[in-house]
């Protein structure tokens, strides 16, 4: 099995799976990645700020809004962490959110770097 099968691929974004999700439309996937990158750092920062403020409602909304794109792009680890933050925000239990938030920020740095450096010719 090769990383291209998508099974042994431990990269933060599984591009091959994401391509399948958009019906093999490479142009569309590129457009989605570009759109996602436009305000990515801003969105991650507002989630981190909401966690720091202890604003459970905003944490929930910010995490939820990131889950959609992360799911589309098959950024599985980041998606799972955003899901945890969404759950904590919804339950109003932000006690553990700081640790999860830090892990999420680290993972999102990897996601952003991966997307910026991605060589589209390899897809």
């Amino acid at each position: 099995m090769t990383p291209r099968d998508g099974q042994l691929d431990d990269s933060p974004v599984r591009m091959l799976l994401a391509l399948g999700r958009v019906d093999g439309d490479k142009d569309l996937l590129k457009e989605l990645v570009d759109t996602f990158q436009e305000d990515l750092s801003e969105r991650v920062s507002s989630l981190a700020a909401a966690i720091r403020r202890g604003d459970d409602r905003e944490t929930f909304h910010a995490a939820h809004s990131l889950r959609g794109p992360l799911g589309i792009l098959c950024a599985e680890k980041a998606l799972a962490l955003a899901g945890e933050l969404e759950t904590l925000g919804r339950a109003g239990q932000l006690g553990e959110a700081a640790t999860v938030g830090d892990a999420f920020e680290r993972e999102m740095t990897k996601v952003a770097a991966f997307l910026s450096d991605f060589d589209w010719k390899t897809l």
Partner: protein, 202 residues
Amino acid sequence: MRILIADDDLLTRRILEKILAKSGHEVVAAASGSEAWQILSGQDPPALAILDWMMPQMTGVEVCRKVREAGGSVPTYLVVLTSRGQTDDLVTAFEAGADDYITKPFEAEELRARVSVGVRMITLQQQLADRILALEESLAHVQQLQGLIPICAWCRQVRSDGNFWEKVESYLGKRSGLQFTHAICPTCKAKQIEGLKHLRPA
């Protein structure tokens, strides 16, 4: 078919738009629940709507509830897009009036399959509504035949409302649109032939 997609996430809207347009559908997009409700409550709304659950101002489930409350001759087919896959959540969506749901993130194939189920349902409902309309129109043209009809035991003429006597075929023709062709039954035919025999010169 014209399809409304409502999602506050631009990426999801773009994917939905692209996949549905590729399948030959005309897509109308909304970025909030209230915008979706405006479109669905306006004139000539799309027959099918894909609504994200979590949207600003009004959730997809609230939009479903409002659409169902408003009614309509052919109900809009409503699909809720959700990242919540738990039974309780799905029951909430169905109780609010959703016809189906798609869990995020979705695959293009699944989206297409669920949309074609919706298209099939809408076509069936439209055919049914057309049949009902045609039946109602037919009924309006047919006067009901009911109650007791006085008929002469000898000549078989029927007494109409105005106390006139008329032939049974004329009476039924006026009230039901029935048309009669004239023939002779074997019994009458035999009787007539027998009668004619008596007319022959001995």
